[in-house]
């Protein structure tokens, strides 16, 4: 990215590309950003500006409303015997100028086995960047963080001291965490994201299990008071952002339901039934379906989850687990943590 205020790397920035020291993370000024198995703490004024998401690879641009500050890219290597260090070295060679300063660092957080930083001062392409590469073998994940060296000094300091050291990854056998715009979910292990819908006040994820046999939809609508004036809670269950071939069939209406979460009783509705293909294929591969909508009045959120799977793979507890794990990273907008992470 060309910068009108290009400057050469200062000694302070050169020093900053060495081992980042452990920061004193203040939960009052940071919020969680988690996507596809990686997780970061970013200042609460920052936001994702652009998301090109996928499970195997993707990219995200993070910054303030005025300027992008940090780019995050991730890959999941498909080869079984994958060696991170040669891959990272080849990547640095391809994206950075010759003579880029490369350092091997000790990862500060669990999950990452390798952490490499590089300073790219490419005068030909008018580009000054600081790059970090991290490899998490348990998550089968490589993450690239790119900071523009022309960004303000306080932003670079935050990236070096707070953001990069907070990078963490969850293994493939653990639940995957998702957190954006103060809305957070946890998807079960072995479930990969197929579609994401992000609207103001309405964020939804569609996930599929192995071989697309089971489907899980997680959704939060807020503020709940406004949402419930537009539509009843049972009607929110009927609405969906994601199209599917199977239609829901049930002889019973949604029943009232309660769930204990963080010491609070959340009230809502629960719906059970089957999902079938349209006639005359209704007999073919039906799926058991369960869906719930709960009103978390304390947080002002409607929590919606829907799970369907063939009868022999159907695990009803997945729905309850997903609902209980929602908003694991919640902070109020002033930045103070209201629930422990």
């Amino acid at each position: 990215m060309s910068s009108p205020h290009q400057r050469s790397i200062t000694p302070s920035l050169q020093h900053s590309a060495s081992v980042p020291h452990s920061p004193i993370l203040s939960s009052a000024h940071s919020s969680a950003l988690a996507w596809s198995g990686w997780q970061l703490e970013i200042p609460f004024e920052w936001r994702p500006l652009r998301i090109e998401s996928g499970w195997m690879r993707g990219a995200m641009l993070v910054g303030t409303a005025e300027t992008p500050l940090l780019q995050i890219k991730w890959w999941r290597p498909e080869r079984k015997r994958f060696k991170a260090v040669p891959w990272i070295e080849a990547r640095v060679k391809s994206v950075a100028a010759k003579g880029a300063l490369v350092k091997y660092l000790k990862p500060q957080r669990d999950g990452f086995a390798t952490l490499v930083s590089a300073v790219d001062n490419n005068l030909k392409k008018n580009r000054n960047r600081i790059l970090w590469y991290a490899h998490a073998p348990a998550a089968n994940l490589i993450v690239e963080l790119v900071a523009n060296a022309a960004a303000p000094d306080d932003a670079l300091t935050l990236i070096h001291d707070t953001v990069v050291p907070s990078l963490a990854a969850t293994g493939l056998d653990q639940p995957t965490r998702w957190a954006v715009y103060d809305v957070s979910f946890e998807s079960p292990p072995q479930f990969t994201v197929a579609a994401i819908k992000m609207l103001a006040g309405d964020i939804a994820l569609e996930l599929f299990g192995r071989k697309r046999k089971s489907r899980l939809v997680l959704r939060q609508v807020y503020p709940s008071q406004l949402a419930l004036t537009r539509r009843g809670i049972a009607n929110w269950l009927e609405s969906s952002h994601f199209k599917e071939h199977r239609k829901f069939r049930s002889s019973k209406k949604p029943a009232p339901w309660k769930l204990e979460k963080d010491g609070r009783a959340l009230e809502g509705v629960l719906r059970r039934g089957q999902k079938r293909l349209p006639a005359p294929l209704g007999w073919c591969a039906p799926r058991e379906s369960i869906a719930a909508a709960l009103n978390d009045a304390a947080l002002g959120r409607l929590l919606l989850a829907e799970y369907d799977a063939p009868k022999k793979h159907f695990d009803e507890s997945l729905l309850q687990t997903a609902l209980l794990a929602m908003n694991w990273a919640h902070t109020n907008s002033a930045g103070a943590a209201s629930t422990p992470r």
Partner: protein
């Protein structure tokens, strides 16, 4: 095509510019806009609604031609705000700037700062357009020349840092 009267001293090029070319939109930088202080317009009748919202009634002057054809000089228009809009409207007290209103709104309704900023600033623009609030800014413009429009960021620049 009937050409409108244009002063003969203007050269033809200026005439064509005046007639056909669009004038640049005046825009205010974001950081300056966030320091603006919205104030409720006076003379607006307020009525509480049972759902927690409010109804605001304002009088609007009709255009000259409507009055020539016999319409009344002023007419009433009522705007209904829900409880969220009421919070924003009540926060327009002339002393809090837009940034403070956004932060308080995000804190009260437990939503993230970017979403609160988008919602509140869009709503304030709507209220301004309806004449229900006015904006006060500390820094007056130094000249009467229009502020050049902000250049659109090329999306390609966002792809790679």
């Amino acid at each position: 095509m009937v050409l409108p009267f244009i002063h003969p001293q203007l050269c033809i090029q200026s005439q064509l510019q005046f007639m056909f070319w669009r004038r640049p939109k005046q825009t205010i930088p974001r950081d300056l806009a966030l320091t603006a202080r919205p104030t409720r317009t006076e003379g607006i009748a307020r009525k509480e609604l049972p759902d927690g919202g409010i109804a605001l009634t304002t009088h609007i002057e009709r255009g000259t031609w409507m009055r020539v054809f016999g319409a009344s000089e002023k007419f009433e228009r009522t705007f209904q705000l829900d409880y969220l809009g009421r919070d924003v409207y009540d926060a327009c007290n002339g002393s809090d700037d837009v940034q403070t209103i956004v932060r308080n709104f995000a804190l009260k309704h437990k939503i993230s700062l970017p979403e609160a900023e988008l919602a509140v600033t869009t709503f304030l623009k709507t209220l301004m357009g309806r004449g229900l609030i006015a904006m006060a800014m500390d820094e007056p413009r130094k000249s009467h020349a229009p502020i050049p429009p902000k250049k659109k960021r090329n999306d390609d620049n966002l792809r790679e840092l």
